[in-house]
């Protein structure tokens, strides 16, 4: 059966070109970048070249990029590192939103136990934070504002330029979690006044287990892992050279034209789904939506069951339904945009990549029509 992968917000297929450039760094160029010999220096050179690729892609300098094991680690390092570096200064207030990825949300909850005060800002019904709410929430104790740039569930792209201006004016640090938006929406650390940027590779056709954190020159943080003083002593541990090479290649192979292509497929899929009765789109309807995100409520039927039927047709999807979570709680993001638990349970997320084709979208729409009809006939709610 043909497989149609529409869960690219979870992870993506590694691009063949990426695998190709990684290969030699397993088999031949396997040196440790800290070693003085040729093999070591070969690895070191590749490491630094990759660093400059990542740096340039967001308008940063190479020495402002730290490689990590991924988005989770980068987010944790930014928030905890900053909190511990400022312990005892009275700066213990963190401002974030109610629609963050679990790793930011749970890092913040943990920091509350360590003495931080955290403000979780509301968002509007499309998932936007109001920059003025951020301004109002800032107090003399505020250390950092941490915002998810492109939302992984509903695709909302936040106005980071405006938020950055406010943070700079009020002299608080600004961190963005850009795992979903990287290579899909503009990121420029200077123009947008960013102090920290979390990036990872596996959402952009790179390998899993690699990420980066941009830390603006001069900003001090404490490391989480102590060891052999790698990565400016902020992240000890032998660098994942093949992964980092693959990460840089993934950035180099991403094209602006991919965004246009995904937007076209996204809009076709959204419009096709909304033709099905009693459906509604979650997240923004305008250009401030990630080019690859579709999130809809089908109402009166269970997202987990829809996903199960799609899977039987070879289509991979995801849902914010309670029935699909480890905790039997529906998505905190869908609840933050005002959905009831019952509505959130009917949600389905489809997320595209540059590899998806128009025929696939036609097939998905055909299957969805069938499946939704069948499940609705099975549902007691009409």
């Amino acid at each position: 059966m043909k497989q149609i992968y529409l869960d690219n917000a979870a992870t993506t297929q590694v691009d063949k070109k990426v695998i190709e450039v990684m290969q030699p760094y397993f088999s031949e160029k396997y040196g440790n970048a800290s070693s003085q010999h040729l093999k070591g220096q070969e690895a070191k050179r590749a490491l630094e070249e990759s660093r400059s690729v990542i740096a340039r892609s967001i308008g940063a300098r190479s020495d402002e990029i730290i490689f990590t094991s991924g988005g989770t680690e980068s987010n944790n390092l930014a928030l905890k590192g900053l909190f511990f570096a400022n312990k005892g200064t009275g700066k213990n207030h963190i401002i974030t939103t109610k629609i963050e990825h679990d790793c930011v949300m749970n890092a913040c909850k943990w920091l509350e136990e360590q003495g931080a005060r955290v403000t979780y800002l509301n968002v509007d019904e499309q998932g936007f934070v109001d920059p003025e709410d951020i301004r109002k929430a800032i107090t003399p104790e505020t250390l950092v504002v941490s915002i998810i740039h492109g939302n992984n569930e509903i695709g909302t792209i936040q106005p980071i330029g405006e938020i950055g201006r406010i943070c700079r004016e009020k002299q608080v640090y600004f961190h963005i979690d850009a795992c979903q938006s990287y290579t899909k929406a503009r990121i420029n650390v200077k123009k947008q006044n960013l102090d920290f940027v979390t990036l990872n590779a596996h959402k952009i056709h790179g390998p899993k287990g690699v990420g980066a954190l941009y830390i603006r020159d001069g900003v001090k943080i404490e490391p989480l892992a102590h060891g052999g003083r790698h990565e400016k002593n902020l992240r000890s541990g032998t660098e994942n050279i093949p992964g980092i090479i693959g990460f840089a290649k993934a950035v180099k192979t991403s094209r602006n034209s991919d965004i246009k292509k995904m937007e076209k497929l996204r809009d076709k899929l959204i419009n096709g789904i909304l033709k099905i009765q009693n459906t509604n789109l979650n997240g923004p309807k305008d250009e401030n939506r990630l080019c690859n995100n579709i999130n809809v409520c089908f109402n009166n039927i269970e997202g987990e069951a829809i996903g199960g039927y799609l899977d039987a047709y070879g289509i991979s999807s995801s849902t914010g339904s309670a029935c699909s979570s480890h905790t039997l709680e529906s998505s905190h993001v869908l609840k933050a945009i005002g959905l009831s638990d019952l509505q959130a349970n009917t949600s389905l997320r489809l997320s595209l990549s540059k590899f998806n084709k128009e025929e696939e979208i036609d097939y998905v729409l055909e299957v969805l029509n069938k499946v939704v009809g069948k499940l609705r006939r099975m549902s007691p709610v009409k």
Partner: protein
């Protein structure tokens, strides 16, 4: 946002994808309706009863794959049984018949059991 389907076995998938007892009965003799307090989902069971036996049974659910599969198996198990026999059927029996459910989905089979009891109670209260 996790996919769970890989943890359902073949038997569960069969009842989920091709349920034989999904639907409604016109003019049922009894109806049971329950809200799943774990995840918030819903289930209804409709009964046709003749001579103290379950002549026909159908379910409708706004529930997950496990909920659909468990209700289908439940219907299969009790069809043709007397009300007393049907009352004996609990979710352990449903799970056994399905060849097991993921731990976090056990409550979905309880949903079926409770909805059926509710339907039988509905019938018995009308009979009095």
């Amino acid at each position: 946002m996790k996919n769970k389907f890989e943890q359902y076995n073949k038997q569960v998938m069969k009842h989920f994808l091709k349920p034989k007892h999904a639907g409604k009965i016109k003019n049922p003799d009894a109806v049971g309706r329950i809200n799943n307090d774990m995840c918030g989902d819903l289930m209804e069971i409709y009964l046709k009863i003749e001579g103290g036996k379950i002549k026909d049974i159908k379910f409708q659910t706004m529930g997950c794959a496990a909920a659909i599969a468990s209700s289908d198996v439940l219907c299969e198990l009790v069809l043709g049984k007397s009300l007393e026999e049907a009352k004996e059927i609990d979710n352990k029996k449903i799970i056994r018949e399905l060849g097991g459910l993921p731990l976090i989905k056990l409550h979905c089979s309880v949903l079926g059991e409770r909805t059926l009891r509710k339907a039988i109670e509905d019938y018995e209260s009308k009979e009095k």
